[in-house]
Amino acid sequence: MVVEQVVLIIAGALALVSALGVVLMPNAVYSAMMLLLNLISLATIFLLLHAQFMFAAQLVVYAGAILVLFLFVVTLLNPQGENILRDKHRLQQAGAISLGLFLACLLVGGLLYAFTSATQPDLASTVTQAGSTYGTVEAFGQALFTKFLLPFELTSLLLLVALIGAVVLGKRR
């Protein structure tokens, strides 16, 4: 239990630092690498929350497919680096940072208020007990193909539309 807490805090700190790295890195390739680190640390947290299938899906879909697409476009376009510390839009930056701090205070304050005034939330006992099927491919597939069959089928339509859109956008005029 203590080991889980330590791993959770390390992965959480890594997720925050790498998220800051995505925003602050001057080169887009470094940003993509930081995004990879962020995805892996979030996947570790998924594993700690007993969502094994989501851990694998996160690594395969995000780190394996989306990030490779990002890196492909970044290296194809090769944009010049930008240093946001030497940006000219001072007022805009100050506004963005103050709005961000406001949002962070609002979200974290609301969460801490909700979670300490009520009972402390934790993983359900059906999740943590030994031999629990929560998070396995079996339990996940059971829900996906019975209760959520229609939404699952509709995602294929979404992917088809995205595919057609990518072809239309990539076509030379």
Binding site: A57, Y62, A96, L103, V108, L111, A124, F140, L144, A162
Partner: protein, 100 residues
């Protein structure tokens, strides 16, 4: 602090950092990466709440978010490449031909 509290605070902070990234950066590629950060923060919140109730609904929603993220990345990067082809530079401030 319980584990769920920690993961929810991490989720909130990662979402905030992603929102700031969209506002701060001028490079649309990095803005897209910041949007991915926000989607991931949402995923973490879904899985945390799913674990609290012990049902698989949270994970099903995460699968939907993964699909949306993949579709959005494909279309968005297609738009960025088309933009680069027209103007040879990518900067969101220069894309103002649709402004009213």
């Amino acid at each position: 602090m319980s584990g769920i509290t920690i993961t929810m605070v991490i989720s909130a902070l990662v979402f905030t950092i992603g929102a700031c990234g969209v506002l701060l950066r001028r490079n649309p590629l990095v803005q897209f990466m910041s949007i991915e950060l926000m989607l991931n923060a949402g995923n973490l919140a879904f899985i945390s709440f799913g674990g609290m109730t012990g049902s698989a609904e949270g994970q099903v929603f995460v699968l939907m978010v993964l699909t949306v993220a993949a579709a959005e990345a494909v279309v968005g990067l297609g738009i960025i490449v088309a933009m680069f082809r027209r103007r040879r530079r990518i900067d969101v401030d220069e894309v103002n031909s649709m402004e009213g």
